[in-house]
């Protein structure tokens, strides 16, 4: 089972169908069961027994998750594979000692791969859907794998299957989620 963490401003918010369910459907499409939990509901306990965790994005104006840093402290301690999407990447960066800072991108954007990795599409460049007002630094112990003209787009922990992607793979890059599952969660 994969734990999908909802980072939207409140449980059952109007962002749930837009940012959480499309990710859950990609995972279920790979014949893998999903459990969805809001980040305020002690996700660190629910992760026990899961094969992987995906932290979802949020609406463009929604940065409420950053006010509850303690809700993400478990990310740095768990051995379970992690994939953070947009806000989820920012949460991972913060949990591992990185920083978040303003950077706006909206719409389809060119991404350049800067280091090869099996999670990536296999091209030197690809396009991806962006919807963020902030990005993050590459935290200590991580490497950057791809970037846009504006900012870092993919980070990976140097020793563990912990990834962050700033773009939204549920739009035209579903393979990123599918490869995360097949490479690290099965």
């Amino acid at each position: 089972m994969i734990l999908v963490v909802d980072l939207c401003y409140r449980e059952h918010s109007l962002g749930y169908e837009e940012f959480v369910l499309p990710i859950a459907r990609i995972i279920e499409g790979q014949d893998t069961s999903v459990s969805i939990i809001h980040y305020t509901r002690n996700a660190g306990k629910s992760v026990i027994g899961c094969m992987g965790v995906v932290l979802c994005g949020t609406p463009l104006q929604d940065n409420a998750f950053r006010l509850y840093r303690n809700a993400f402290s478990w990310l740095a301690a768990t051995e379970i594979p992690l994939l953070g999407i947009c806000a989820g990447m920012q949460a991972i960066s913060l949990a591992f000692g990185g920083e978040v800072f303003p950077s706006l991108e909206i719409g389809m954007t060119d991404i350049r791969v800067t280091a090869s990795d099996p999670l990536l599409p296999g091209h030197a460049t690809f396009t991806a859907y962006e919807l963020h007002r902030n990005t993050c630094t590459v935290p200590p112990g991580f490497a950057g794998l791809a970037e846009s003209d504006r900012c870092i787009q993919i980070i990976r922990h140097e020793d563990r299957p912990v990834y962050g992607v700033l773009f939204h793979p549920e739009v035209r890059n579903e393979g990123v989620v599918e490869r995360f599952l097949s490479l690290f969660c099965w």
């Binding site: 059952h12 918010s13 109007l14 962002g15 169908e17 837009e18 369910l21 499309p22 459907r25 609406p59 463009l60 104006q61 929604d62 706006l104 909206i106 719409g107 389809m108 859907y129 919807l131 007002r133 549920e170 739009v171 035209r172």
Partner: protein
């Protein structure tokens, strides 16, 4: 949160409105009347009847006109958002976008420029489950325009019910149309919704159809008790 719902009169905007009403406060509907039937952003058949839908939903309506010229349409929508902020204090916008990155990204930018939240509750939805929910939850949805093969004239004015849904599924598989018409294959008009206090009765309508393109133009309609 006070929200304005972008409303074309079709199923996607009104179903999204219903979802928004369950979670937040819907302060108004917002509609853009495009003079261009090939509008890039705005669904056009029967958009004038949004006034009747707003009355049925007991919601105020913010309306603006646009010539429907690409990109200038955006400025006109921006004007509508400004009016909705000023008159009704909206803090966010709801759209019925399902797959269109073109539409979604442009509206996201307009909202960002005004510090408005933007919600797309049907974004990448399970299209079959969504259409079934429309039927199950009491939405009365009519086909108001067809714009691709294999739709014949009989689809104009037809209600989307379980039988129509089964045919749409067959068309989607056979002709590679999007099940929800997101690719512009068909347009819809909502005559009733669970949150309407009255339903819309179509008194007169005309059909124009040729070569897999047609419009069901509602020429007279009124609110009646449910």
């Amino acid at each position: 949160m006070q929200l304005g719902v972008l409303c074309s009169g079709g199923k996607d905007s009104l179903f999204s409105c219903g979802m928004a009403k369950e979670r937040e406060e819907v302060a108004c509907l917002i509609t853009v009347h495009s003079k261009n039937e090939e509008s890039y952003l705005f669904h056009t058949p029967n958009v004038g009847l949004v006034r009747l839908q707003a009355r049925a939903a007991r919601l105020p309506l913010v309306e603006v006109d646009t010539e429907g010229i690409q990109e200038e349409e955006l400025a006109d929508l921006g004007r509508a958002l400004d009016m909705a902020q000023e008159r009704y204090g909206i803090e966010g916008v709801v759209t019925g976008a399902i797959l269109s990155v073109y539409q979604a990204a442009r509206i996201q930018r307009l909202c960002h420029d005004r510090s408005l939240w933007c919600f797309n509750p049907l974004w990448h939805t399970d299209q079959e489950a969504y259409l079934q929910a429309l039927c199950d939850q009491g939405y009365d949805v009519l086909i108001s325009g067809v714009f691709s093969a294999p739709f014949d004239e009989s689809w104009l004015g037809r209600k989307i019910d379980t039988r129509a849904l089964a045919e749409l599924k067959q068309y989607a598989a056979q002709y590679r149309i999007t099940l929800t018409g997101e690719g512009g294959e068909y347009e819809t008009f909502v005559a009733d919704a669970p949150f309407f206090t009255h339903r819309i009765e179509i008194v007169t309508a005309t059909k124009e159809y040729a070569n897999y393109r047609g419009v069901y133009r509602i020429t007279d309609a009124r609110l009646v008790e449910k």
